[in-house]
C-alpha cells in the first residue's frame, strides 16, 4: 500500500468514526428529550386523573352533606307541623275545660273518673282534682260510683280529694296508694301523641283529600 493510499484510508476511517460518534450522540440526545416528553405526558395524565378523582370525591361529599341537611330540615318542618297541630288541639281543649257549664264538659269529667277506675284493679279509689273539678264531681259522686260499680261488676268506694294545682282532668289513686292512673288533659294528649303520632304525620302531608 502506498503512502497516499494509507493517508486516504486514514481520512476515510476518521470520517466514518466521526459520523458514527455524531450519529450515536444525536440518537442519544433525541432519546433523552423524547423520554422527558413521555415523562411529562405521564405526570400530566396522572395529575389530571388525580384532580378528576379529587373533584369527584369533593362533589360527592358536598352533595351528601347537602342532602343530609335537607333531610334534617324536612324532618324539622314535619315535626313543627305536628307540634302545631297538638298546640292548637291543646288550646281548644283548654277552652273546652273552662266551659264548666257545658254538658259535654261534665260528661267528659265523669268519663275521666269512670275510665280511670275501670282501668285500675281494686274497689277503693281516691280521685284527685282541682277545686273546680272536685266541686262538680262531688255533686255527681253517687252516679259516678254507680256507673263504675256496674262496669266492674261489684261495689266500689270512691273518695274525692281536692288538690290545688292539679292539671286539668283527674288523677286516680288506689286507696292503698299502690296504683295510680293519670287522666289529666296533659297525660291524655301525650298518650294520643304516642298512639296517633305516625298516623297524624301521614295525614298532615297527605295529598288529594
Amino acid at each position: 500500500m502506498s503512502v497516499l493510499e494509507i493517508k486516504s484510508h486514514i481520512e476515510k476511517e476518521t470520517e466514518t468514526e466521526i459520523r458514527q460518534i455524531l450519529q450515536e450522540a444525536e440518537t442519544e440526545a433525541h432519546s433523552i428529550i423524547e423520554n422527558a416528553k413521555k415523562k411529562v405526558a405521564a405526570i400530566l395524565e396522572e395529575h389530571k386523573q388525580k384532580r378528576t378523582f379529587e373533584n369527584l370525591a369533593k362533589e360527592r361529599s358536598e352533595l351528601a352533606i347537602l342532602r343530609m341537611t335537607q333531610k334534617a330540615e324536612l324532618t324539622k318542618v314535619k315535626a313543627e307541623w305536628l307540634d302545631r297541630a297538638f298546640e292548637e288541639a291543646e288550646k281548644r281543649l283548654n277552652d273546652f275545660m273552662k266551659d264548666t257549664r257545658s254538658p259535654a264538659h261534665k260528661d267528659f269529667l265523669t268519663g275521666l273518673v269512670v275510665e280511670g277506675a275501670i282501668k285500675m284493679s281494686g274497689s277503693r279509689f281516691v280521685v284527685l282534682a282541682d277545686s273546680q273539678v272536685s266541686g262538680f264531681l262531688k255533686k255527681t259522686l253517687k252516679s259516678i260510683s254507680k256507673r263504675i260499680s256496674e262496669a266492674k261488676g261489684g261495689e266500689i268506694e270512691l273518695q274525692l280529694m281536692s288538690k290545688p294545682n292539679t292539671p286539668a282532668g283527674v288523677i286516680l289513686q288506689s286507696a292503698d296508694r299502690h296504683q295510680y292512673y293519670n287522666n289529666t288533659l296533659e297525660a291524655r294528649l301525650s298518650a294520643t301523641r304516642q298512639r296517633l303520632g305516625g298516623e297524624l304525620y301521614s295525614l298532615l302531608f297527605r295529598e288529594g283529600e
Binding site: I10, H47, E62, R67, F86, G111, V114, A151
Partner: protein, 106 residues
C-alpha cells in the same frame, strides 16, 4: 531526511490530525448530549412549575354548581309543597287529636 522517513512522518501527523478530529467529534457529541439533558431538565422543571400553579387555581365546576342549585331549588319546592299540604290538613289533624283526647273508654 530520506523520502521514506519524510512520508512516514507525514503519515504520523495525518494520524494525529485524525485523532484530533475524532477527539473534537467526541467533545461535540458530549456537548450535544449535555444540551439534550439540559433541555430535558428544563421540560421537567416547566411541567412541575405549571402543575404547582394549576393546584393553586380555584377550579370552578360550573356543572356541579348548577346541579347543586337545582337540588336546592327542588328542596325549596318540596318544603313549600309540604307547608301547603299541612296547612290544608291541619284542621283534620286537630279534630282527630281532640276526639281522641275526649274519647274516654268505659
Amino acid at each position: 531526511m530520506s523520502i521514506e522517513i519524510e512520508e512516514l512522518t507525514r503519515l504520523v501527523e495525518e494520524e494525529k490530525r485524525a485523532e484530533h478530529k475524532i477527539e473534537q467529534a467526541r467533545r461535540n457529541a458530549e456537548g450535544m448530549i449535555k444540551r439534550a439533558r439540559e433541555e430535558a431538565n428544563e421540560i421537567m422543571r416547566e411541567t412541575e412549575s405549571s402543575l404547582a400553579s394549576l393546584q393553586a387555581q380555584t377550579h370552578v365546576q360550573k356543572e356541579f354548581e348548577e346541579k347543586k342549585r337545582q337540588i336546592e331549588q327542588e328542596h325549596k319546592r318540596k318544603i313549600s309543597s309540604l307547608n301547603k299540604l299541612a296547612e290544608k290538613n291541619l284542621e283534620k289533624a286537630v279534630k282527630i287529636i281532640i276526639n281522641d283526647v275526649l274519647g274516654v273508654e268505659y
